[in-house]
Amino acid sequence: MDFDLSDEQRMIADTVASVLSDAGAEDVWGAIVDSGLTGMTFREDQGGAALSVLSIAPAMVELGRSQKHPPMLGGAILPGLLSARCALPGLDAEKVIEDDIRVAVALPENLTDVRTHGGALTGTARQLLGASDAHMVILCRQEAEGAACAVVDLAAPGVTRSDQILVDGQCVADVTFDGASVSWSQADKDLPVWLTDIAAMMMCAVALGAAQSLRDLTRDYISTREQFGKPIGRFQVLQHDMVDIWHDTEHFASLVFAAASACDGTDVAARQRAVSALKRFCGTRMRAAAACSIQMHGGIGTTEEYELNSYVKRILVADMLFGTADVHAARLGRLIAETARAEAKTYGWEHAG
């Protein structure tokens, strides 16, 4: 049991932090490629570093503190994890790591409108992270008895892309298929859920960085802003709100790293419990903390110019993608019921229920 950052975690986080602070908005992806950060999750025999989810999580916290939006998750972490665990004919991992080709991943929640008929795709894959300048998309879908993956070239006939910007400022794309040909390969049944869990956890790590910045900004603001002849932080009602934000941010940090660790483990139920609790916490307590921080700032908190709004929006988007708070509450509820049934057997409560 050790909650300090390891040397490896610190090194990766420091690298990301310095890339984000030093590179201009236009060059940030190039700097990430040059720093070797695109290969973090690919296997070593693919030219990657095979890093664990827990090793990368603090780097994503750094991303959340910044005002930049390189597609670390959609363009590097998710493709690496997917291709490390599933054979993907047509995808050259080394070229992805070198940034010769760019890829994005479509998970089941992106694919609800996409159908395959006789090897041809129709429908629109929505809000794909990192897809706005990608050459290829890896589709990852859940099937009744398993899962399947396929690589689609975005320049192929019958494929069109439409770029979008999310509320927090990151670029995504919708990709529409109109009879594009596809060849699915079978994958492990847990793969789509596993990858979605990791994506959800990473979004929350970004939200944690944003929450930490939001907390610090709010504390500094109420310590210096004067009304009624004194800093507003002297008023008890604001102090108590500030303490709540402080505690929620610490508890959120606990859940982020515990979920990261669970994503590296083999216990599927434990991973799902950890990720769903994290996402539920993000959407309930952290969204409320973000709203409270605006309230404590007063008028200035409602402006687009003041940087607070960028952190608030990161928290909003982290809640929305990869299963909303309600979706995760429902899954957590099912897991709790499973636990209860197992306990009833163990403790002789079987006559109950």
Partner: protein, 391 residues
Amino acid sequence: MDFAFSESEISFRDEVRGFLADRLPQDIRDTHFGFRRHSWEHMFRWHKIVAEQGWVAPYWPVEYGGTGWSPVQQYIFDEEAMLAGAPRLRPFGLKMLGPVLIRYGSDAQRAHFLPRILNGEDYWCQGFSEPGAGSDLASLKTRAERVGDVYRINGQKAWTTTGQHANWMFALVRTNPDAARPQEGISFVLIDMTLPGVEVRPIITIDGDHHVNEVFLNDVEIPADMLVGEENKGWTYAKFLLGNERVGIANVGQNKAEMRLLRAIALREQRNGLALIDDPVFANKLADLETDFQALEITNLRMLSSITPGGDSAALAPFLKLRGSEIQQRINELAMEAVGPRAAAWAGQASEEAAIDRYGTHGWLLSRAFTIFGGSSEVMKNIVAKQTLAI
């Protein structure tokens, strides 16, 4: 960063489980698994069994009968004991007074009182709060005057938990009413509850039980060597003691055991032909509770693993107390909601059915005190704002 328990912690957990399997009496275990709450007699019997094992005061240094366990080991013991259905050991002698005597008491006080705390010969209560001094503890009025070789004490203490069972009380008394600040005129004394002038009157709380008391002190004369440390320095010792108390109040182990009871109740109850635990409305509430509990559990371990044995954890305490006490209240609230109208039944009977009906309502009422004692939530937030946030 590593979220796994170490091999030595895992083998320690096995050792604790072995001890609990061998020594925790079946009737005490059945009390918990039968949705009933432990009595004082259960606690006292269990205290003696744990003391025989030498494990009753893990927070004390080894030379005074402590165990030398790390904070994480202490947590493991607590968690395993709670999950096995053991009662909570009462903190007054073990967690509150013991560390104060070890740090600030005289050699004679340590030699006499510490072994008697360990073996259960003395049972202590806490004489801090007064009718006019709750959150504002420093305004306490109970007066101690030095008269020759004794202190003569007059005043009234309130909310004295299990004072009806105690033969000793540690108390804060005012020895200098003229001090510049109220905190500077307070002393920490040890009062023999069998002395003339000590009168204990029950206060029945809203759960219908007798947990707390008023204690009247009329011309009670205690020997001058029952003063702990220096005269008028009692506030310093009390702050040290309250820091220790608050860490214990996070109650992660007990919360975990009570969440399991709540799951069992929700599985057993029916709603619209479904087990209640499968009802989406109730399942959502359970999920929110589980979410906050996971956050508390991990944050607690984060804090425990960052402090060294015997270290001062007072700064960490408010974090854990605030959310821990709130979670304990919510567990009981859901247990009460789960049984619906049957929760309105008041008089408990011996059957398991009745115990379940009463469990949540009784707990909801009982647990109102959890966000009040040991520093109310509002006072805790004031402390965090001042110390942690520097605002």
